[in-house]
C-alpha cells in the first residue's frame, strides 16, 4: 500500500536518479520538504543543485524553467498549487506553448510543470481551484491529470521524455489516500485515456478526483444491477477521442463528471465531441455533473456541495437509465 504522496515522491526520485539533466525547482520544494511533504528529504538526498528552492516568483521560475529546458536541461517545475499558476500563465501560453511553432520548428521546450490542484481541504476561494479547463484550451501544451496512484507514480517519466511542455495536475485531496500499486507497466502511455472499470450500461467519463468517486459510484450501481464503465481521460489535451467514442458506442450513454466548474469545462468539450462523433448511437443526451459555478467557500458542507459526490453520480445515472 502506498499513499498518493509517496507515489509522487518516488516518481520524482526515479527521475532525478535516471537523468542528471533533471532537476526540481519551485517554492519550498527543498528545505521545507514541499508544501505537502511530497519532496521531503529530496534535498538531503540530491543536494541543492538538483532540488532548487525558489522565491515567490511563479512567473519568474516558470520562465526560468522554460529557458533551462531550451538550454538542454529537463526541469521539473513545481507550482505549489494551481491556485498560483495564473501568475505564470503568460509564460506557459505565450512562451512554452508557442516557441516551437513560432520558431518554425527550431526551439522545442521539454519542460514538465507539476501542480497540486482541486478542492477538499477547506482552503476557501483562493486555494480551491480546479483550472484544468483553462490549460486544456491552449494549443502546444500536453495536459495530464493524475487521477490514480498508478498515474501519480508513472506519469512523470514519460512526461519528461516528451520533447514539448507537459503539465501534470496532481490532487491535494488524494495525498494521504493509500492504494495498492499494480507492478509498473513499462512506459506508461501519455496519449491514451484508460477504462478503469468495464461496463455496458453507461460511460462515466471523468478525470482527476472524479476517478475514484466514479469508481465508488459504479460499485454502488452494480449492487443495483447497473454496469457503469468508468473512463479516466488522463490526458486532457489532446483528448483521446478513440477511447471515448469506443466506450460511448458500446454503452450508448454517458455521464461526464468533474470538479471544475461547469461552463466551458473539460466535460463540455467531451460532450460536444460525443455529439459530433456518436450522435446517432446515443440513447439519451450526454449529461454532466460538474462543480458549482461559484468561488469555493470554506465550510465543509458547502465545499462538499460545490462538487459532484458519488451519491449524486448514482442518482443521476439512475435517472438517465430510466430515461428510456
Amino acid at each position: 500500500m502506498l499513499t498518493y504522496r509517496e507515489c509522487l515522491k518516488q516518481a520524482i526520485q526515479e527521475a532525478l536518479q535516471g537523468d542528471e539533466r533533471v532537476f526540481l525547482l519551485g517554492e519550498d520544494v527543498g528545505r521545507y520538504g514541499g508544501a505537502f511533504a511530497v519532496s521531503k528529504n529530496l534535498l538531503q538526498e540530491f543536494g541543492p543543485e538538483r532540488i532548487l528552492d525558489t522565491p515567490l516568483s511563479e512567473a519568474g521560475f516558470v520562465g526560468a524553467g522554460i529557458g533551462a529546458a531550451l538550454g538542454g536541461m529537463r526541469p521539473i517545475v513545481e507550482i505549489m498549487t494551481v491556485n498560483f499558476s495564473l501568475l505564470a500563465l503568460d509564460q506557459i501560453a505565450n512562451n512554452a506553448a508557442t516557441l516551437l511553432h513560432m520558431s518554425g520548428g527550431q526551439f522545442n521546450v521539454p519542460l514538465v510543470i507539476r501542480m497540486s490542484a482541486g478542492i477538499g481541504k477547506q482552503l476557501a476561494a483562493q486555494h480551491s481551484h480546479s483550472w484544468e479547463p483553462l490549460f486544456a484550451h491552449l494549443p502546444g501544451l500536453r495536459i495530464l491529470s493524475a487521477g490514480t496512484h498508478q498515474d501519480a507514480r508513472y506519469m512523470l517519466a514519460p512526461a519528461l521524455l516528451d520533447p514539448d511542455p507537459v503539465i501534470i495536475f496532481e490532487y491535494t485531496s488524494l495525498l494521504n489516500l493509500e492504494k495498492e500499486l499494480s507492478e509498473a507497466a513499462d512506459a506508461v502511455d501519455i496519449s491514451k485515456a484508460s477504462v478503469r472499470r468495464e461496463g455496458k450500461d453507461i460511460s462515466l467519463i471523468t478525470y482527476g478526483t472524479g476517478v475514484y468517486k466514479a469508481l465508488e459510484a459504479a460499485e454502488e450501481l452494480a449492487t443495483a444491477g447497473i454496469e457503469a464503465e468508468v473512463l479516466d481521460l488522463r490526458i486532457l489535451r489532446p483528448l483521446d477521442d478513440d477511447t471515448i467514442m469506443a466506450s460511448v458506442s458500446k454503452t450508448n450513454r454517458a455521464l461526464l463528471v468533474e470538479d471544475a466548474s461547469r461552463s466551458v469545462s473539460i466535460s463540455s468539450e467531451v460532450s460536444t465531441r460525443i455529439m459530433e462523433k456518436c450522435f446517432y448511437e446515443l440513447d439519451a443526451p450526454v449529461a454532466r455533473l460538474c462543480g458549482a459555478e461559484v468561488p469555493i467557500p470554506y465550510p465543509k458542507h458547502l465545499e462538499d456541495a460545490a462538487v459532484p459526490q458519488p451519491a449524486q453520480i448514482v442518482s443521476m445515472v439512475k435517472k438517465i437509465l430510466q430515461h428510456d
Binding site: 528545505r31 528552492d53 522565491p55 516568483s57 476557501a124 470554506y298 465550510p299 458547502l302 456541495a305
Partner: protein, 331 residues
C-alpha cells in the same frame, strides 16, 4: 515633516492598558484558535501571528477609523486590533454564518466593511495593487485617509510588489506599505528569497521613502508607524516600512519546521514582545500588577466568549451556496 511621534511622549495609563490588552488578546485568541484547530473545530489553513503582535498593534494604532486596511492570510491579529468583534472572527474560523465573512472565508479571509478591513488575502502579494487602487480612489475623491497594506518579506519577491510600489510612487497615492519581515517565507529563509537582503533598500528603486524598525519592540514600532503614517498623510505619498520580526510558531498547522533550528526559535522567544512591553510598563509604573491581572482575566473572558459565541452560531444553508457570486439586483 513628521510631528513628534506619540510614543515618545510617555504612555498614559489608559493607553498602556489598551495596548497591552491588545497584545495579550491577540496572543491568547490565537492560542485558543490553535487549540480549536486540534479539536477540529477550525479546519483548512491556520497561520498564527504569535511573536509578531507588536507589528499589528504598533502600526494599527497609528491609523484612523476612515483608513483602509489590507492584510494577508496571517491576519487574526490585525482583524482583532482593528476592532472586528472576536466572536465574529472566531465564528468565521468555525465557518459559521455569523462570522465576519459569513463563514465563507475562514481564517485566511476575514473581511469587515465597517472597519474597512479588506481581507484576509491569500494570494501572496495579490492585495498590494488593490491597496494602491483604494488609495487612488481616496485621492480622486479627495478623502483625507490612507491605505495601510501588510505583507511578508516573501511577498516582495513577487512581480506584484514591484508593480504596486512603482504605481504608488508614480501616482503619488497615500499607501503605507508595511513589510512584516519574519525572516521566512514558509520554509524559505530571507537570503534564499532576496539577493538584496537589506529590504529597506528596495524602496529606493521606486523613489519611495523607507524606514525599518525592530518589530519586537512595540514602542519602536509605534514610533516608526506614527512617523510613517504622518509622512503619508502630510505628503500624500507612499511610505515603505519594514518591521523586523519573527514567527514563533510553524508557518501553518501543516508545517514540520524542518528549515530552522529550535534553538533559533528559542533565541527569538527571549525577545517576545509581550513580556518586553509588560516589563517596560512596570518599570515606568504606568501599570500595576493588579491591572495586569485584570487584563489577563478580561482577555481570558473575551476569548472564551468568542468561542462560546462561535459554538452557538449556525451553518449557512446549502441553498445559499451560490448567493453573492454576483450582486443581488434589487428589482
Amino acid at each position: 515633516m513628521a510631528q513628534t511621534p506619540k510614543s515618545t511622549t510617555p504612555l498614559s495609563p489608559e493607553q498602556a492598558r489598551k495596548l497591552l490588552h491588545q497584545m495579550i488578546l491577540v496572543r491568547r485568541f490565537e492560542e485558543k484558535a490553535a487549540e480549536m484547530y486540534t479539536k477540529t473545530k477550525i479546519r483548512g489553513f491556520l497561520h498564527l501571528y504569535i511573536g509578531e503582535e507588536a507589528v499589528a498593534v504598533g502600526v494599527l494604532q497609528a491609523l484612523r477609523a476612515e483608513d483602509n486596511v489590507l492584510a494577508t492570510y496571517r491576519e487574526h491579529g490585525h482583524a482583532l486590533v482593528r476592532g472586528i468583534d472576536p466572536g465574529k472572527i472566531m465564528a468565521e474560523m468555525y465557518g459559521r454564518l455569523e462570522g465576519c465573512s459569513r463563514g465563507r472565508g475562514g481564517s485566511m479571509h476575514l473581511f469587515d466593511s465597517k472597519t474597512k478591513f479588506y481581507g484576509g488575502n491569500a494570494i501572496v502579494a495579490g492585495h498590494l495593487a488593490m491597496a494602491v487602487g483604494l488609495a487612488l480612489a481616496d485621492k480622486k475623491m479627495k478623502r483625507d485617509q490612507l491605505t495601510c497594506c501588510f505583507f511578508g518579506e516573501g511577498a516582495m519577491a513577487e512581480g506584484a510588489f514591484h508593480e504596486a510600489m512603482n504605481l504608488a510612487a508614480l501616482w503619488q497615492v497615500p499607501v503605507l506599505f508595511v513589510c512584516e519581515n519574519n525572516l521566512y517565507a514558509m520554509g524559505t529563509a530571507l537570503r534564499y528569497t532576496h539577493a538584496q537582503t537589506n529590504l529597506e533598500l528596495k524602496g529606493a528603486a521606486y523613489g519611495i521613502a523607507s524606514s525599518s524598525v525592530d518589530g519586537m519592540d512595540l514602542l519602536a514600532v509605534m514610533q516608526a508607524a506614527n512617523m510613517a503614517a504622518e509622512a503619508v498623510r502630510s505628503t500624500g505619498q507612499p511610505h515603505f516600512l519594514v518591521c523586523n520580526t519573527y514567527r514563533f510558531r510553524a508557518h501553518s498547522m501543516f508545517d514540520a519546521e524542518l528549515y530552522r533550528e529550535k534553538s533559533e526559535v528559542e533565541e527569538w522567544k527571549k525577545r517576545d514582545p509581550i513580556p518586553g512591553f509588560l516589563n517596560y510598563l512596570m518599570q515606568q509604573q504606568v501599570l500595576t500588577d493588579v491591572e495586569f491581572k485584570n487584563i489577563e482575566t478580561q482577555v481570558e473572558k473575551e476569548v472564551q466568549d468568542a468561542v462560546d459565541f462561535a459554538e452557538t452560531c449556525s451553518w449557512e444553508p446549502v441553498e445559499e451556496l451560490t448567493r453573492y457570486t454576483y450582486s443581488e439586483r434589487k428589482s
